[in-house]
């Protein structure tokens, strides 16, 4: 699908763009990650509104987590979450062994630090 490649390129450019604008401006480095996180959060909110429009009401937290891991992840990344762990006290760890937005990056050292920035989106 051609649109997947387009989105990957846009995504990478966005990360680079935010960091470049930070170099020219006066902000400290930490703000870039927050900016990217907030962007991702906002996009996620819109997506969730659309997807949950027709699904049944969630009864409890477990329902919500199941929805995220199965339906939501499948719709956005075309696969399910590989591992879900919890400490039963409100913390959930989702593990994806083949994160779609990073698979195209080669495993050289040069790219690994940038991969962590892309991760936050």
């Amino acid at each position: 699908m051609a649109d997947e490649a387009l989105f990957l390129l846009l995504h990478n450019e966005m990360v680079a763009g935010v960091y470049k604008s930070a170099e020219q401006g006066e902000v400290e480095n930490g703000r870039c990650i927050t900016k990217l996180e907030n962007m991702g959060f906002r996009v996620g909110q819109g997506l969730i509104e659309r997807f949950t429009k027709d699904t049944a009401r969630f009864k409890d937290e477990l329902d919500i987590m199941k929805f995220i891991c199965k339906d939501f992840w499948t719709t956005v990344f075309k696969k399910q979450i590989d591992n879900l762990r919890t400490n039963h006290q409100g913390i959930y760890v989702l593990q994806d062994n083949k994160f779609r937005l990073l698979t195209q990056m080669s495993a050289g050292k040069q790219y690994l630090e940038h991969a962590s920035k892309a991760n936050f989106r």
């Binding site: 819109g46 969730i48 509104e49 659309r50 949950t52 429009k53």
Partner: protein, 139 residues
């Protein structure tokens, strides 16, 4: 033909509230506020299961002598409350459901608007027009 429509955020403050201009608006604001308690009661998993637990449409919240109040909750815990005139007996449950459906669709469109910050009052013209089309036409 609703008399008052309100969109309430997850933290129970109104994102959008509009009533027919003829009436005393404060009365409707108060009614919507009190109906929030009923909504919370229906959402929480009370053992009675009066409402189908998996549905977004909550149904008739409470009837007063002049008005009936209907509720609907989305999965992101945003509530829609609609007050209709009791004298309008022609309104059936299915129509109310379809009105809430339209509300939900418009609300989703507002959420996806990148210029809209969640938590602000809804100021979209399209949303306004849709709500106007659902409100009663009083000359």
């Amino acid at each position: 033909m609703a008399v008052c429509i309100a969109v309430i955020a997850k933290e129970n403050y109104p994102l959008y509230i509009r009533s027919t201009p003829m009436e005393n608006e404060l009365k409707f604001h108060y009614m919507v506020h009190t109906s929030l308690d009923v909504v919370d009661e229906k959402i929480s998993a009370m053992g009675k299961a009066l409402v189908d637990q998996r549905e977004l449409y909550l149904g008739l919240l409470y009837p007063t002598e002049d008005y009936k109040v209907y509720g609907y909750v989305t999965n992101s815990k945003v509530k829609f409350v609609m007050v209709v005139d009791s004298s309008n007996t022609a309104l059936r449950d299915n129509e109310i459901r379809s009105m809430f459906r339209k509300l939900h669709n418009s609300y989703t469109d507002v959420m996806c608007n990148p210029f809209y910050n969640p938590g602000d009052r809804i100021q979209s013209r399209v949303f306004d027009n849709m709500v106007t089309s659902m409100m009663i036409q009083v000359c």
